[in-house]
Amino acid sequence: MKDAAAPQSPGKRAAAYWFVDGLPELGFGVIYLIWSGLGIVWGSSPDQHWMKWGVVTAGVIFLVFFCWDRRILDMVKGRVTYPRTGYVRPPKDAQPNRPDEIVTLETARPLDENVTYFRMRTAFLFFVAMQLVTMADMTSDGRAARWAVPVVMMAAAALEYYWSREDARPYSLWSVPAIALAGWLTLAWHLSPKSTAYFPILIGGAWLTTHGLWTLVRYLRTNPHPQYGGAQS
């Protein structure tokens, strides 16, 4: 797994700082894992109607987190990150069609560089992948859903790598193939087409959670809480 690349400008460094503790990845990852877990169980035993409401609730939680992720994470970071390494304004969503302007010494810097694509691309991509597998399932009466997962996840892996290269949270070429590989591994798991549709967010959730946990553990180990740091010195 690759660290967030050391960006050049203070704005890009500030954007990368949002991911220094792994909490954004962990947040989306855990929600995806819970949602997919409930969805797979519900798809395997559709007679359990109470499970349906669990899936709906998880979907609503995803929606809430998707809309207010910065506000929610800001509260968590207020306890975890800011006392350790400080606060900087959370990055805004990058404009998708922002022109790649060449910034030189002769030009002023009108662009806000404290921005990220993470929410709109990296995290949202797995939700889109789930929709694509569901569509494949619906259009083929359940026959194509199984094979749609590896195909869609291969495309998702390629897009994750391509999109994240220039983002505040880049992923290495060694990390993203795990998404495609996990897609192929699902072929060994025979479940109903309804359950299969949740595989993309299961894979995405596991992938994001792994990244988030790894980053968080490393961050907490290298940055002990100030009161403990003070006691040691």
């Binding site: 400008s9 203070p10 704005g11 890009k12 460094r13 500030a14 700082y17 800001d74 509260m75 970071k77 207020g78 306890r79 800011y82 006392p83 390494t85 400080g86 606060y87 900087v88 304004r89 010494l105 002769e106 002023a108 810097r109 806000d112 560089e113 404290n114």
Partner: protein
Amino acid sequence: MSSEVQDLTRLDRVIHEPARLGIMMVLHGAGEADFLYLQRECGLTQGNLSSHLARLEETGYVEIEKKFKGKFPMTVCRLSVKGKAAFDGYTEMLAAVLQVVRR
């Protein structure tokens, strides 16, 4: 060439000091940051950063707000409108001088 040399004397001396330039650069890029983040980014001691921030606040380039994030007290700093304009003016003037040097 002489006019460019004369331009050098018009550079904003409040910003031109390396530590303050660093602080202005970070705040310009990040939007807003707290004391601890600035200290880590600029590599300054607490006292040093404090005195430079006080100077920038006195000039009206930086706004400092003390607030709480949960139970954690923070000193959040951001560039004022005057500070942004001064920083843009400074970088433009410096760029013009550098252009002459590289010609």
